[in-house]
């Protein structure tokens, strides 16, 4: 049974030792042409999922479908899935040309046609003229591009990328992110990308699957993920986050009243904790809290500045607010700077809609 999803994980379990499940009852659908990122901390099962899709691991239970076919019994070399590995996995004893020609040669593609394909793939990553180089003679970024070109040269419908940018320095990583994104847009291949770097995920993906503890915590578009996390883990993992622990004491429509552990009550947006008496962790993005609010905001509290950290384009404040000593605020660096000093008392306000009552930690 399957319908029109290009890739489909159906109740997939995976255990290595028979004692612990690395992946638990995973269900995940990926559409053709999508760029889906599996994001999560190390040990969350994301790479295992990728390896199961590639065929290097077998699911302990459940089925994986590719193009409506069960692929459990197809060995990796017959799946026709391109793959970019963490450390590129270029064949060190072959030239760039030979590396790219390898998948074509094993498919018995005639040489002139293969040459054309190699040339096309190299031009895609702007590495023409590097055919005769050995991988060791290339920089990290160039090796990365060769690895990407190699995974695409035999026109696979699906390409898997396992933390391909992990070994690059920051600037190179950013430019490679755009490059991979553009290649994806140009040729319309389906990409499943694994990373633990949230910026990378937010920059590149159509949809992001946040993994934790062997499960997909949330699968949605980058903005959805950042703006509307569905649980504490996602809120914590993606971007910066201020939290308060407490208990819901009153719910009225779109708002609820939460009594914090410090005894003070705040207004919040009931997402997970929806009924009276629920324990909750309230999550608020630093940029949604405003100093000296002019407009009416349904949360208005006073806090004491504990620390001021200058970041150039913005200044970060660590504030002692409502019993949370690590409440972070971001102030953009504008000309009318406020008088910010350590130890000063300030007024802080935010809207209850931005303040999401999620599951307790």
């Amino acid at each position: 049974m399957s319908n029109d999803h290009f890739v489909r994980f159906e109740n997939v379990d995976k255990s290595y030792d028979g004692k612990q499940l690395v992946v638990k009852g995973l269900n995940l659908d990926i559409e053709e042409g999508e760029f889906v990122t599996m994001l999560g901390p190390s040990g969350s099962g994301k790479t295992t999922c990728l390896m199961m899709l590639a065929g290097f691991e077998t699911p302990t239970n459940g089925q994986i479908y590719l193009d409506n076919k069960v692929i459990s019994d197809i060995p990796p070399h017959k799946r026709g899935i391109g793959m970019v590995f963490q450390n590129y996995a270029l064949f060190p004893h072959m030239t760039v040309y030979e590396n790219l020609a390898f998948p074509l040669r094993v498919r018995k593609i005639p040489k002139d046609e293969a040459d054309k394909k190699v040339d096309k793939a190299l031009s895609m990553v702007s590495l023409q003229g590097f055919e005769a180089r050995m991988p060791m003679q290339l920089s990290g970024g160039q090796q990365q591009r060769v690895a990407v070109a190699r995974s695409l040269v035999f026109d696979p419908k699906l390409v898997l990328m396992d933390e391909p940018l992990g070994a690059l320095d920051k600037n190179l990583r950013e430019s490679m992110q755009y490059e991979i994104k553009h290649i994806h847009e140009n040729i319309g291949v389906t990409v499943v990308y694994v990373t633990h770097d949230q910026t990378e995920a937010l920059t590149m993906s159509n949809r992001i699957a946040v993994f934790n503890d062997g499960k997909v915590q949330q699968l949605s578009s980058p903005d959805e993920l950042y703006e509307r996390p569905v649980n504490s883990f996602v809120a914590e993992f993606i971007g910066e986050n201020n939290t308060f622990g407490g208990e819901v004491i009153d719910v009225s429509g779109e708002k609820c009243k939460v009594k914090l552990n410090s005894g003070i009550e705040i207004m919040a947006n009931p997402i997970v904790a929806k009924s009276k008496g629920d324990k909750t962790t309230v999550s608020l993005r630093p940029e949604r809290a405003i100093i000296d609010p002019e407009k009416d905001m349904d949360n208005n509290h006073k806090g004491k500045i504990e620390e001021v950290i200058y970041h150039g384009d913005h200044t970060r404040l660590r504030v002692d607010l409502l019993g949370n000593k690590d409440f972070i605020l971001k102030i953009p660096n504008s000309s009318n700077r406020m008088d910010i000093k350590e130890g000063k008392e300030i007024k802080i306000g935010w809207n209850s809609i931005d303040c999401r009552a999620l599951d307790p930690k």
Partner: protein, 415 residues
């Protein structure tokens, strides 16, 4: 660029002040290296030099018969020499008798031509009774061989200080009386067979080691740590056991009434009264040497395989290569440095192997090193032993050179 000398801040040329600053470090380095250097010099370089020297050194006899050889310079070596040669012989031999140092010369001359032993012994016994003058006649009277030119020619041939005759002997060649290089007599040609057998055994032992070691090394490199450590201990265990013990245990296993033969009989592959000989022939040498040299193949292979990322094989498969194609095109070529190192190591060790062939090889399984040992210990022909040793050394260096030309020594990885 200007050719001016760069000065350091106190006006001394930079090069000089750098040298001064580095002097202490250099001295330290020299002192640290000195003990090892001396050690190698004394126990390695000096003995090898001595061995090379011995193999060509033929001065002993020149020193013992100085007057004879001076007189012989004028002799053309055709007919019998004239009186001065016999006079020289008389004086030299009298002196040797007086000093009682004629033992060595008898042995040396008998190597050159058999028959000299009795000739010299008889001459020395009677030399005191000779009268002055007309020595030639008197010598021929003592022993008729002094009247046969072939003995005198043989004597003359020992005159040069240096001789490569031992090397010729090592490849079944020799000098005839006219100093032409000819083949050794048919029944005395043993060294060519011995060399070929040595190379043959070393070659096949290397092949067997490779066949056995490759899967083990692969397993070692890919198994989880827990199991690979255990396996590694199994590989290294023989290393920690005395070579003699290991060879002796092979003797226990391989003997005609031993467990392996029992098994063969039990399986019905051989009749009980017709048990195959597994020892004291080349089979024993093969089996024992392969087992003993196996770690030397496993370890370099392992160290190379350990560096091959498993993702390379995965990449090969994900790109569409079957496991076999991926292995042949990707994995195997990357292990070649290890194969080279291991094969070179095993071959070089095997070609000079001594104890194992001596104990389990018997006559048909003994190798060149056993012959060297024989000449060192039994026949006491050290010069010949040295010559064989030198030939072995040169052979090993030649293999090394060829390997370097073919594969490049930099590609070797020992660990």
């Amino acid at each position: 660029m200007s050719q001016e000398k760069i000065l350091s801040s106190d006006g001394i040329p930079l090069e000089e002040s750098l040298k001064k600053a580095e002097r202490k470090n250099k001295l330290k380095a020299v002192l640290l290296v000195a003990p090892l250097f001396l050690f190698i010099l004394i126990i390695y370089i000096f003995p090898i030099g001595d061995m090379l020297f011995r193999s060509v050194d033929d001065r002993m006899i020149t020193k013992m018969l100085p007057k004879t050889f001076i007189a012989m310079e004028k002799w053309d070596g055709q007919d019998l020499p004239d009186e001065p040669v016999y006079e020289g012989l008389y004086e030299d031999l009298s002196l040797l008798k007086k000093n009682k140092t004629f033992g060595k010369i008898i042995a040396r001359l008998n190597y050159e031509k058999s028959g000299f032993s009795s000739l010299i012994k008889k001459t020395i016994r009677k030399i005191d009774k000779l009268e002055e003058g007309n020595y030639k006649e008197q010598f021929i009277k003592i022993h008729k061989r002094w009247g046969q030119s072939e003995y005198l020619v043989a004597l003359k041939n020992t005159a040069p200080n240096w001789s490569y005759a031992k090397y010729l002997k090592g490849v079944d060649l020799k000098f005839d009386e006219k100093r032409n290089i000819i083949q050794q007599d048919e029944d005395r040609r043993i060294y060519k067979t011995l060399w070929l057998r040595t190379i043959n055994v070393a070659f096949w032992v290397t092949i067997f080691c490779f066949i056995l070691a490759y899967p083990i090394a692969h397993l070692l490199a890919t198994l989880p740590m827990k199991y690979s450590n255990l396996l590694m201990i199994c590989v290294l265990l023989p290393f920690w056991t005395s070579l003699l013990v290991r060879t002796s245990s092979w003797m226990v296993l391989l003997q005609q009434q031993g467990p392996i033969n029992d098994l063969i009989v039990w399986l019905g592959w051989a009749a009980d009264d017709n048990r195959p000989e597994l020892m004291y022939n080349v089979i024993g040498t093969f089996v024992a040497m392969t087992q003993i040299l196996l770690p030397f193949m496993v370890l370099p292979l392992y160290s190379v395989m350990k560096t091959i990322s498993p993702s390379l094989m995965r990449a090969g498969k994900s790109l569409g290569g079957t496991p076999l194609v991926s292995f042949v095109k990707i994995y195997f070529p990357l292990t070649i440095p290890g194969i080279g190192a291991g094969s070179l190591l095993v071959f070089i060790l095997a070609i000079g192997y001594y104890i194992t062939p001596a104990l389990v090889g018997g006559a048909s399984g003994s190798l060149i090193s056993n012959n060297i040992a024989y000449h060192m210990k039994s026949s006491l022909d050290w010069a010949f032993a040295s010559a064989l040793g030198t030939m072995l050394l040169v052979g090993v260096l030649a293999i090394y050179w060829v390997y370097n030309k073919l594969v490049g020594i930099d590609n070797i990885k020992l660990g």
